[in-house]
Subunit: 131 residues, 2 copies
Amino acid sequence: MKQSDIKYTNQRIEILDFLREFDGHPTVDDVYEGVRQKLTRISKATVYNNLKFLAEKGLIKEVNVKGVSRFESNLIPHHHTICLECGEIQDYESEELSEYAMSIAKEIDDFKIGSTDTNFYGICKKCMEME
Amino acid sequence: MKQSDIKYTNQRIEILDFLREFDGHPTVDDVYEGVRQKLTRISKATVYNNLKFLAEKGLIKEVNVKGVSRFESNLIPHHHTICLECGEIQDYESEELSEYAMSIAKEIDDFKIGSTDTNFYGICKKCMEME
DNA sequence: GTACGTGCAAATGATTTGCGTTAAG
DNA sequence: CTTAACGCAAATCATTTGCACGTAC
C-alpha cells in the first residue's frame, strides 16, 4: 500500500495537527480531548483506530510507557528519558547513540534490523528537588 | 524495606523457580499456567501481584512489549531483539552498548539516570524464511 | 500472635470490534 | 458511485482491588 492510498479525513488531519502542535507525548485520551475541541463529535474509537493506523503508516511514532501508548510526530531518531517517580517523558537526541546501536544491531545473526529504541530510566529534575 | 523482609511463600518460590527454568520471556498467563502445574489452587491475581512485587524488589525484570508485560530472571544487563512479524523476543548481550548508553545518559542535565534499556526491532530468522 | 499473603470475584482501565450510517476520492 | 472511515455501544483483554480467610516468621 502506497502512502498516496491514505484517505485524509478531517479526523486524521486534526489528529496529525494536534500531535504536531502538542509539546510532549500525549496519551490517546490527551489526543481525544484535544481534537474534540475542533471536532466535537469525534469518537474515542476513531482516535484509537487512527493513531494506530497513522503509526503503522509511519506518519507518527508510538511510544509505550508502563503499558500505556503515547504518541509523537517527531520522526527524527531520538531517545526518551522517563522519570520513575512521576512518569514524565522528555526527548533526548544523541545521533551517536542511535548510530552505535544500529551498528551493533546490524551484526546480530539471523535478524534483519529495522530500528532501535533506547530509553533512559531515572529521576527527573522536578522529582529530585522534591526530596 | 530490606531484602530480608521478603516473605518467601510457596507461591513466590514457585514463580521464581518457573522463571529461572523458563527459556524465554513469559507473559503473566504463561507464568500462571506454568506455576499452576504445581500449585493448582494459585490465583491469577496472586501471580500478578507477585510478579509486580518481585520486579519492584529487583529479583526479576519486567519487559513491556506492545503493552503487555513479560518477565525474566536474567538480571545481567542485556538487550532484546523483537520481531515485528511474530513478536518473538530474544536476548542479545552487548556490554559495550550497555556501557555506552549509560555514559551518554550520565551526561544528561537535570536527570539522575538509573538504568537504560535498548530494544532492536526487526524481522527474526523464522519470519524471514517464510517470505 | 500478628502482619502480610492468598484466593476469589468484582471493578477498573485500555483498547478493539460489530454494525448501520457517512463521506473521501 | 464505491469503498473505506465514522460514531456509537458493546465486547474483550490486561491488570488491580476489596474482603474474608490462611500462613510465614
